[in-house]
Each structure stands twice: as structure tokens, then as C-alpha cells.
Amino acid sequence: MIERSPYEILGLEGDFEFKDIKKAYRKAVIANPPEQKPKEFTIISNAYDILTNEEYFVNSSNLLYSLDVKLELSQEIKIDNSQYLKDIFEVPFII
């Protein structure tokens, strides 16, 4: 499973500085208390560690993470090709 960008997890965007990472972390933890949302809390803590803890940074899985993409795909196209069966000669039998 590819983790999401730690910056996006902590809601860090725009004009922030390194010191703001801690603030963002606190804010995210308040919104996702460990006792209520343990999974989210772990994700947030990992993201914070990647950005601030050298050991974690160095060992975190190759520093690869994906960016969040909010994109709605058009409905899957279904192609009804049954009509073409009658236009080209073909039989299911061995002739």
C-alpha cells in the first residue's frame, strides 16, 4: 500500500515553514484523537515522523508516497458489440 504524502496528511500547503509542521501535527491530532481514531492517529504520527525525525525519514519506505488526486472518472464505457455479430460471417463451430 502506497502511503499518501505526509504533507497532505498533515494538511500542510501554501506558505508554511518547518516550524509550522508541529502546529499542523497538533491540530491533526486534536481532530483525530488516538483513543477515538487510532488508525488515523498512527497515519498522522508516521507523517509527522517522516517530516521531522531523521531516523524515520531515512528508514521510511524509500520516501515514496503518492499525491492525493480527487478526480471523478466518467462512467465506465460499456460497448455493446452484439450487433456486429450479424454483420461479419463467423460461426462458433469448426468447419
Binding site: 502506497i2 521531522t52 531523521e54 508516497y65 465506465e76 455493446d80 452484439s82 455479430l85 454483420d87 462458433p92
Partner: protein, 721 residues
């Protein structure tokens, strides 16, 4: 009429057997085939046309197939060949002609041909919009085919429900036919199906747009054109879905063409690159990243992804682009990044271009990097400020600093070779740099334990470099380095035996007061010689960089350590003897017992044997016992005999009839007699044992010795028995 040229029958047959039917036909048309009768020629032509037509048909070129079958019919207008033509006409969608030839064949006397013709004839009528099926004709077909015809007739008229009912009722026996019928059903139901090799080209095409092997009839051409766009859109859609769900990367052009929102587009390109990296397709990842780097740099995450890519790519040509991207990135994100993050990027730039890296490190005030890489080179004499900067670096552990140290070490190791060719002046200047490093290390206060490996490696490289300099000229530097190493052996509690070879060699160099490093290790001629020797298997003596025997060195270290431990009263003092070079065991035993000058030699021997697990009668050291006895017998007669008796008595009973054991006791008796020593109870026991065993076993190699001892034995009254 001009006479036709002749062609060899043998050549024609070879062509025929090789399947070159087109050539066979053309040779028959052009030449007179020598030695081949009309019937034979007709047979070859018939087979050639049939096979050629069939191969064209299979490859989807029905026009050519039909051309060849027409040629065949000119020679051999049989019903079987006409049936083939009927089939091809159907596939060519020439249903009017098919109906004409079909009408002829449904009256064929050959029932198999007749049935096949009826099936095709009815279908040709349906395709030709004649939906009235002759009941008498259809009855002659198998139920599977009857149901298929009924279903197809319904499908052509737009009644898919009825069509499906019939198709599902049609149950052909053949597996391939079942697969194809199921393919038709899934196309009608618009449900996905597992693609199988046996599915016919048309069905495969209608399922997933793969047009391989599809016939080239007019209808198939127009349908191909029509469906191409639909499938392209469908595939794009599923590709994009895979990318969004991070399942697989896609062609980046699809993202560019399909996604209008710039931010979403760039995010998808980023994820796409990352997916290529995950699949270790770094070349593709780099290609896309470089192309869209201006778009990707807006993401703070981009540099780390980029570094992962370029660390896995060996392409020096693009270094400028890499550096320019990382430099630009630092400019944008410097304030948002952790210090180690900045270091990480600067280290990458350093690896790409050292000078540029130092400039960037200076610009971003990465003092540790600048000090280790640049400032240290300019120090003439170590001052307190230098030492405190050095101390600060090693006080707190940082992975990036550790990585930097390791890359500096690699660089220093490489310099050793260039020193070999360098001018004396440059060589001397480099010695100053080495000395500064040693001095800084020597006075380094409490380095973090996690720098242990880097510090040892640094000492190892310094020892390697040091020994490229003559001992006499740089004696004090040798000693300085040796003291520094001793300090760290103590500080990190290092095992002397496990020290790197360069450090062991440095100690040997100092003890011998000359560098033991081989002068010719970087000599190209020597390399060639070494390679040649390695090739013929003579590598043992030339493998090392140094002219010293590491095994002997290790043994001497063990002896010193064991001696110290024993003197300290350490109960496990002799445990490390297990690692000693076996050839040193007996010399060590003599040495330690002589040195200790204690009375309870037996208890010390017991301790040695018990704690080290050494077997004194081991085949690899047996001969050493005798040679050590001969060395020590004059000076330490009692001790020598004590050890000898102990060793002989330590041999298990099961080995006491072996030749080597008998040789041992013979040597013992011989020494006692030769040196006129007191003949104690061991003497008598060993003598008796030798005589008894030899009389029983009659070993040829011991016969002379037996005769000698027999005299002694008899002189002692047969030992009173």
C-alpha cells in the same frame, strides 16, 4: 512453340516438402518438371493450392485464399474443394455466390460434405436476409448446429432474447466450439469473459478490440474502423482508473490529453512517475520526470522522488539537469524542510558534483558538511575551534552526516591509488591532511557510539594511506595513528582479531619499523601478473595488499590476550585459543608454561584443553608436538616430558592402536633413552603397549622400530611378565 526449360524433380520435391507451395506452383507453371508424370504433378499442385489457400485463410487473407481455391478447382473440381470455396465465399460475405454453389453441394453424394454444405447454405441465406429456414434441410444437422442456426436467425432479426435461448441450448461437443459459443453469449450479454487462445478472431475483436487474424472482408474493415475509437476510449478509461487507484502506471500522453485541470494533471503525472519507480522502471520514471520537471517542482514531495530515481540511474550526462532541479527545489522549499532533509538533497548534489555541492552547502550554511569537506583541507595546525567543530559533528548522531563521512572515506580510499603515481610534493601535502585527520580523531571527545563503524573505517583508510609513506620518514605519524587506533580499541571495546587488515598491517609495520605494504599493488604489470597467477590458481601469496601473514599475527594477538587473561585469573582465559592458528598451539603451550613457571602444569594443561576444546592429538598438530619437544628438551626437560606424557595420555583408547600413536610413544621412549632420562612408569607402560600392539598388528612401517624397542623390552625382562 519454344521448348520449355526443364526443372529438376528433386528440387521441386524439396521445395514442396519445405512447404514453399507458392514456389512449387510457380516452378510448375514456368518449367517442365523432369521425370514427373501428369498425375504426380496434379497431386502436388492440388496439395499446394489447398495448403496455400488454407494458410491464407488462417492468416485472415481470404481474398488470396479464394484465388488459390479457384485455381485448385480448375485442376480438380471435386465436391470437397467446392465446399472449401463455399466456406471462403461465406467468409468473404459473397453470399449470392455462396448460395449458388451451396445449392449444388446440398445434393452431394458425400454425406459429410452434404451436411457441411447445408449448414453453410442456410447461414448464407440468413446473412442474405432470407429468414425462412427449410425445415427438411435443418433436420439433417446436429442439434447444436440446429439451435445455433435458430438463435442466429433470431439475432439477425433483432430478437436477442430468443437468440440467447437458442444459443444456450446449443451444446456442441467440442471444447473449442463451446468456448466460442460462450464468447458469443458474453458479447450479446455485454459481460466480460476470460479471453482464451481458442476464441475466434472476430469474437476476440468484439470483446477487447484485438483485431489480430480478423478477416479482411468489407464489413470487418468498416467495423474495425468504427470500433477502434470506442475501444481506445474504453482502454484509456480503464488505464486512468488503474492510475488513480495506484494499480499501474500509464502512458503519460493519456493524462496530458484527457485531464484538463492543471493541478490534477500534474498530480497524476507525479503518481505515474512514482508507480514507475515502484516497478523499478527508473529510466521511464526519469524520462517523464525530466520532461515534466517544471510541473512537478511545485510539489514539495518531488525532490525525494527525484533523488530515488537518480540514485538508481547511471547517467552522468544529465548531471547538470539533476543539479539544476535540486538547486531550484532548495531555493523554493528551504524554509519548509527539516535540516536533515536539506542535507539529504545537498549530499545528492555533492555526489553529482562535489564542487557545486560545497557551494550549495555554503549557501545554505550547512557548516558540518562544509567543515568536513572543505575547511579541514585548509587546516595547517589543529586549533581548539577546529577540534570543537569536529567534536560537535561527532557528538550528536545524524544519518546524513554518517553518509557524508562514508562518501568522504570512499574518496580517500581511491586517493591511495593516485598517491602511487603522485609527485613527492603532492604526496607530502596529502600527508598533512592525513595527519590533521588523525589529530582531530585522536582528540575527539566522546563520539556518539553510532559513529563507531565510520570511525573504524576512517582509521582503516588512514592506516591504508599511511603505509603508502615510508616508515623512517614519517615514523611519528605512524605512531600517532597507532596511538589513536589504540585509543579507539579501548573506547569502543574492539576485538583486536576483528580489526581491519589495514590496521593490523599498521601495527606490524610499526613493529618491523618499515611499511609492510606491498609497493606493487597498483602496478599495472603486477596486476596483469596477479591476474595470470589467479588464472592458474596461484593466488594465495599475492592476494593481500601487505607482506605479512595475518594468521600468524592473529595467533600472536591471541597469545598476548590469553596470557593477560590468565594472569588476571580469568577462568575462561583459554577460550579464545579455539581461534588460534593451529600450527601455533604447541609453541603457545610451551611458551605459556615456561613463562608462568608454575608447578601445577597439569592443571593449566587441563584448563587449556577443557576451555578451548583443543584436542592435543588432532591430526593437524600431531607433528608439531615432536618438533616442539625437540626444541625445548635441552632447556626445559621436565616440562617437555610432562607435556609429552600429558598429550599421549589424552589420546582416547580407540586411537591407541593407530600408527601415529605408536610413533608418538616410540618418540617418547627414544627421547628418554637418548637423553638418558629417568624411566618412569609411563616409560614402562608405553613400551609394553608398543610391543604388545606391534606383535598383534605387525605393522610393516613400525617393524624396525619394534626390533629396536624389543631389545629394550627384553633388557627390562619383558617388563617382568
Amino acid at each position: 512453340m519454344a521448348k520449355r526449360k526443364k526443372f529438376q524433380k528433386r528440387q521441386l520435391i524439396t521445395m514442396f516438402e519445405n512447404g514453399n507451395y507458392q514456389k512449387v506452383i510457380s516452378k510448375i507453371k514456368q518449367f517442365e518438371i523432369e521425370g514427373m508424370g501428369e498425375d504426380e504433378l496434379k497431386e502436388i499442385l492440388t496439395t499446394s493450392y489447398t495448403n496455400l489457400a488454407n494458410s491464407y485463410f488462417i492468416s485472415g487473407d481470404i481474398t488470396r485464399a479464394l484465388r488459390d481455391i479457384n485455381s485448385l478447382l480448375n485442376i480438380n473440381p471435386s465436391d470437397a474443394n467446392k465446399l472449401i470455396k463455399l466456406k471462403y465465399l461465406c467468409y468473404m460475405e459473397h453470399f449470392d455466390d455462396a448460395i449458388v454453389i451451396g445449392e449444388e453441394l446440398i445434393n452431394s453424394k458425400d454425406s459429410a460434405i452434404k451436411k457441411e454444405a447445408i449448414f453453410l447454405y442456410i447461414l448464407a441465406n440468413i446473412y442474405n436476409h432470407n429468414h425462412t429456414i427449410d425445415k427438411n434441410l435443418i433436420k439433417t444437422l446436429t442439434l447444436a448446429r440446429q439451435n445455433y442456426i435458430q438463435g442466429f436467425n433470431a439475432l439477425v432479426q433483432g430478437d436477442t432474447t430468443v437468440a440467447l435461448e437458442f444459443f444456450e441450448k446449443s451444446k456442441p461437443r467440442s471444447k473449442v466450439e463451446k468456448i466460442n459459443l460462450n464468447a458469443i453469449i458474453s458479447i450479446i450479454k455485454n459481460e466480460p469473459t476470460l479471453l482464451n487462445e481458442d476464441i475466434k478472431p472476430l469474437y476476440r475483436f468484439l470483446i477487447d478490440g484485438d483485431s489480430r487474424g480478423l478477416g479482411n472482408s468489407k464489413n470487418s474493415r468498416s467495423i474495425q474502423k468504427e470500433l477502434k475509437t470506442k475501444f481506445a476510449q474504453k482502454n484509456k478509461n480503464s488505464d486512468m482508473k488503474n492510475l488513480i487507484e495506484l494499480k499501474s502506471p500509464i502512458d503519460v500522453d493519456i493524462i496530458i490529453k484527457d485531464i484538463e485541470d492543471k493541478d490534477q494533471r500534474d498530480r497524476l503525472i507525479y503518481n505515474n512517475v512514482m508507480l514507475f519507480v515502484q516497478r523499478e522502471n527508473y529510466t521511464k520514471a526519469l524520462e517523464i520526470f525530466i520532461k515534466y520537471r517544471e510541473n512537478l517542482i511545485k510539489f514539495i514531495e518531488s525532490a525525494k522522488l527525484f533523488v530515488v530515481i537518480i540514485k538508481n540511474i547511471d547517467n552522468q550526462k544529465s548531471n547538470k539537469i539533476y543539479i539544476s532541479f535540486l538547486y531550484k527545489y532548495l531555493n523554493i522549499y528551504y524554509k519548509k524542510l527539516a535540516p536533515f532533509d536539506v542535507d539529504y538533497i545537498i549530499l545528492t548534489i555533492l555526489e553529482l558534483d562535489n564542487e557545486r555541492g560545497i557551494l550549495v552547502a555554503k549557501e545554505y550554511e550547512r557548516d558540518n558538511i562544509v567543515f568536513l569537506l572543505k575547511d579541514i583541507q585548509t587546516i595547517k595546525e589543529v586549533e581548539d575551534t577546529h577540534q570543537s567543530r569536529f567534536d560537535n559533528i561527532f557528538k550528536k548522531y545524524s544519518s546524513t552526516t554518517n553518509n557524508l563521512l562514508n562518501s568522504i572515506l570512499l574518496g580517500m580510499e581511491v586517493i591511495d591509488e593516485s598517491l602511487y603515481y603522485d609527485t613527492p610534493e603532492n604526496k607530502h601535502n596529502f600527508m598533512e591532511y592525513i595527519s590533521i585527520n588523525i589529530e582531530l580523531l585522536k582528540n575527539l571527545k566522546t563520539p556518539h557510539n553510532r559513529y563507531k563503524n565510520s570511525i573504524i573505517k576512517l582509521l582503516e583508510v588512514l592506516a591504508l594511506l599511511m603505509q603508502s609513506y615510508t616508515y623512517n620518514q614519517y615514523r611519528s605519524r605512524y605512531i600517532l595513528l597507532s596511538d589513536t587506533i589504540e585509543h579507539y580499541i579501548e573506547y569502543f571495546k574492539l576485538n583486536r582479531l576483528k580489526l581491519p587488515i589495514d590496521i593490523k598491517a599498521l601495527f606490524v609495520s610499526i613493529s618491523k619499523e618499515r611499511s609492510v605494504k606491498r609497493e606493487d599493488i597498483y602496478d599495472m604489470d603486477n596486476d596483469f601478473l596477479a591476474m595470470a597467477r589467479r588464472f592458474i590458481g596461484e593466488e594465495a601469496s599475492i592476494d593481500s595488499k601487505y607482506n605479512f601473514n595475518e594468521k600468524e599475527y592473529n595467533s600472536s594477538i591471541i597469545q598476548i590476550e590469553v596470557m593477560k587473561a590468565f594472569e588476571r585469573g580469568d577462568s575462561n582465559a583459554f577460550v579464545s585459543l579455539a581461534d588460534i592458528d593451529k600450527s601455533s598451539i604447541y609453541s603457545f603451550i610451551f611458551e605459556i608454561l615456561i613463562k608462568l613457571q608454575k608447578e601445577d602444569n597439569i592443571s593449566i594443561l587441563n584448563q587449556i584443553v577443557d576451555t578451548s576444546g583443543i584436542r592435543l592429538y588432532d591430526s593437524s598438530i600431531r607433528n608439531d608436538l615432536i618438533s616442539q619437544i625437540k626444541i625445548h628438551i635441552r632447556e626445559n626437560v621436565e616440562l617437555s616430558m610432562e607435556i609429552f606424557e600429558y598429550a599421549i595420555n589424552s589420546v582416547p583408547l580407540s586411537n591407541r592402536q593407530s600408527v601415529w600413536y605408536l610413533n608418538w610413544i616410540y618418540s617418547y621412549i627414544d627421547i628418554v633413552i637418548r637423553y638418558k632420562l629417568a624411566q618412569n612408569r609411563f616409560f614402562d607402560t608405553f613400551l609394553r603397549h608398543f610391543i604388545y600392539t606391534q606383535e598383534k598388528k605387525r605393522l610393516k612401517s613400525l617393524e624396525t622400530k619394534y626390533k629396536k624397542l624389543k631389545i629394550v623390552y627384553n633388557s627390562k625382562g619383558g617388563l617382568f611378565d
